[in-house]
């Protein structure tokens, strides 16, 4: 315990240097901006800025990226409350009640409860990361390749088959991601795969290209094809403050939201959809009868406070599996993993011993970033709202310039820009036909790691796959994977039968 405290203080000392504070501030501000702007999210923003890993030192850039990651969550809620178009999935639930509140003239209160709730839940979850990440890391050291492989299998399963509407489309996206990850040299034998003799492909396909292509370019192409005639309406702002009753209703909702959200971040199950919806449902159920009528009509403040807190708690706690196991469960954490890899650092249980200074500075910067974001988002919210006024032609054309920087800056190759366009078109088709994108990114980044673990595991088993059944931990995890795959179907099937029997 004392040990953790000392290391955290050390982390604050590193994160608190003027240069690192500057990176944190720029990250938070930039994150808020991309969160507010429709069309780009944290994953895209971090991806576009990955080229800086070539020049900026690891600690500074991880603090910077964490700021963007965090800031985008704050900014996203502003957009979903004020604009009548749902943005990223994470803030979809916030949009349901937040929008209603804004329409009945309570935009300010909704923004305030979202920002303060994000701060409260984010801070609680950061404390959890501080306390539990070292413990998980200590435990994870004991895991061998078979256990790791099954954990990755679990991440693949949840991210593709459980989240999203369709298992087939989720799995297709995952396998497309795995296929992209295959391009290049095989890690173990050095065998070239799917390079077609193109030298640029020997090093594999850059994460930046895939992320920026799938998100930014596809988004712009989708907008020009289908959204030209969509008219967005903006709700009017009101003073950003909360009444005494707003506070009384928000505080328990924040705490419940944090309690629901944090566990979901810890497990490799990915996505903020489930915790935010759960929190929303819980708030609706627990609301006093006189407040329950506000849900879906004039907008209930609990319906913003809870999900927004759950969202931030999940996103923060998701750093635990990323830092301790090296397993990303969302687009953004997958790209953060990519950033670590650019420095030759492989997140995992050893990270806490091999790069202790970096990890603790990163964790300390989360505390600092949360405070910065509260200041950036409460008094200065009017500034960010102005970003919503950027007209669409300039917005999307501008996004394409930044996409070019990210894609070209990584390897200085014009070939990558053609590839970027091709991936953009792929993303457009996926978006049009409702394929999830997270499995592509997670599959691409985790695929090569999982393959290496699989082959090492089978080596340990002397060529036999039975090794997964002989080790108790691996077997348990394997059963969890099967459960995750089968249970939702079973529940659906039973409900279906009940309905048709009635």
């Amino acid at each position: 315990m004392m040990d953790i405290w000392n290391q955290l203080l050390q982390g604050f000392a590193t994160a608190g240097t003027p240069v690192n504070l500057m990176w944190a501030f720029v990250g938070c501000a930039m994150g808020t901006a991309v969160g507010v702007l429709p069309g780009i999210g944290p994953a895209t923003a971090v991806a576009m800025l990955l080229p800086i890993t070539a020049k900026v030192d690891a600690t500074a850039s991880m603090i910077f990226f964490a700021g963007i990651y965090y800031g985008a969550m704050y900014g996203g809620s502003t957009t979903s409350i004020l604009l009548n178009t749902p943005g990223e999935t994470a803030s979809m639930v916030t949009a349901m009640e937040g929008n209603k509140m804004a329409k009945s003239g309570r935009a300010g209160a909704a923004l305030a409860t979202a920002a303060i709730g994000s701060f409260v839940a984010g801070s609680i979850a950061t404390v959890l990361v501080t306390l539990f990440a070292p413990v998980v890391a200590e435990f994870a050291v004991k895991l061998g390749p078979p256990e790791y492989f099954v954990l990755m299998l679990l991440a693949f399963t949840t991210v593709s088959a459980v989240l999203g509407q369709s298992t087939v489309r989720g799995l297709t996206a995952l396998f497309v991601g795995l296929a992209i990850g295959l391009v290049g040299l095989d890690q173990i034998t050095g065998q070239a795969r799917y390079t077609g003799g193109v030298p640029e492909l020997m090093d594999g396909i850059e994460i930046v290209l895939v992320a920026v292509g799938l998100f930014a370019v596809a988004e712009a192409l989708h907008a020009v094809l289908f959204e030209g005639k969509v008219v967005e309406s903006e709700n009017s702002m009101s003073r950003v403050s909360m009444s005494r009753s707003d506070w009384r209703r928000s505080v328990p909702a924040w705490l419940r939201g944090a309690a629901i959200g944090a566990p979901f971040g810890c497990i490799p199950a990915g996505g903020t959809e489930i915790p935010t919806f759960l929190s929303y449902a819980a708030e609706k159920k627990l609301a006093k009868p006189e407040h329950r009528a506000e849900f879906g009509t004039t907008g209930a403040i609990e319906g913003v406070a809870g999900p927004e807190a759950a969202n931030n708690a999940t996103v923060t706690a998701a750093l635990i599996p990323l830092l301790t196991l090296g397993i990303p469960v969302s687009n953004t954490t997958a790209i953060l993993l990519g950033a670590f890899q650019n420095y030759g650092i492989q997140p995992g249980p050893q990270l806490f011993s091999s790069s202790a200074a970096l990890v603790w500075a990163l964790i300390a910067s989360l505390y600092i970033g949360n405070v910065m974001l509260l200041v950036l988002n409460l008094p200065l919210v009017g500034l960010w709202v102005k970003l919503l006024k950027v007209p669409k032609p300039q917005l999307y054309a501008g996004i394409l310039i930044f996409a070019t920087v990210g894609a070209y800056g990584m390897r200085q190759s014009a070939f990558d820009l053609f590839l970027l366009y091709a991936i953009g078109v792929l993303g457009l088709v996926m978006r049009r036909f409702n394929f999830p994108t997270a499995p592509v990114v997670v599959g691409m980044i985790l695929g090569p790691l999982a393959e290496a673990q699989l082959r090492n595991a089978i080596s340990i088993g002397e060529g036999s796959a039975m090794v997964f059944l002989q080790r108790p931990m691996a077997l348990t995890l394997l059963l969890v994977v099967v459960g995750v795959l089968v249970l939702p179907k079973l529940i659906k099937w039973m409900q279906h039968n009940k309905v048709s029997a009635a």
Binding site: S166, T167, G228, P393, A397
Partner: protein, 176 residues
């Protein structure tokens, strides 16, 4: 699959969905053909470098098959509602694609700043047309060109001067 089509959703053109399914099958076949050329030398690992390629190829063919089947029997399951059933605006798509592809083709010859500004102008034009802004006067072109330069140039300076990341310039000065 045990998923059942939801009763009353308006069917999206299932022909296109079938094509998407076929496309996925085609990717699977492509990967399988590629996998033929990868040696299977497994060594101690039991599985060689061609194991995952084959797995992915077969899985994609299966997924594609299921999608084709779904498209033929009432469309993809659990589709979210798309944007209001308007026809895609292809002319805007062509403008934007031209911007992106010309950018890729020209960036090393005319430099980052001008190439990106050109991409900006063409993409903004596509989006303006899509929004139905027909006042396509010279002024708007000029305004977009200047806006594009005003975004591209500082970005270029920030990366080349401040972060020392190479981006192609028209000159060797690092400013243009």
């Amino acid at each position: 699959m045990s998923e059942s089509p939801t009763g009353d959703d308006p069917r999206l053109p299932s022909l296109l969905q079938g094509l998407v399914g076929l496309g996925v099958i085609a990717i699977g076949i492509g990967l399988a053909v590629g996998a033929l050329g990868i040696p299977s030398a497994a060594g101690y690992a039991g599985v060689g470098p061609n194991f995952l390629p084959w797995l992915v190829a077969i899985a994609l063919m299966l997924c594609g098959g299921v999608m084709v089947h779904q498209a033929r029997t009432g469309g993809f399951r659990h589709m979210e509602e798309g944007p209001p059933g308007e026809a895609p605006y292809w002319s805007g798509f062509i403008w934007m694609s031209a911007g992106l592809l010309l950018n890729a083709a020209l960036i090393t010859t005319i430099g980052f700043v001008f190439s990106c500004a050109l991409c900006f102008v063409l993409a903004a034009r596509g989006m303006r047309n899509a929004e139905g802004q027909s006042q396509a006067g010279l002024g708007v072109w000029l305004k977009d060109g200047i806006t594009g330069l005003l975004i591209a140039a500082p970005v270029y300076w920030m990366f080349t001067q401040f972060l020392a990341i190479n981006l192609p310039g028209l000159t060797q000065s690092g400013w243009l």
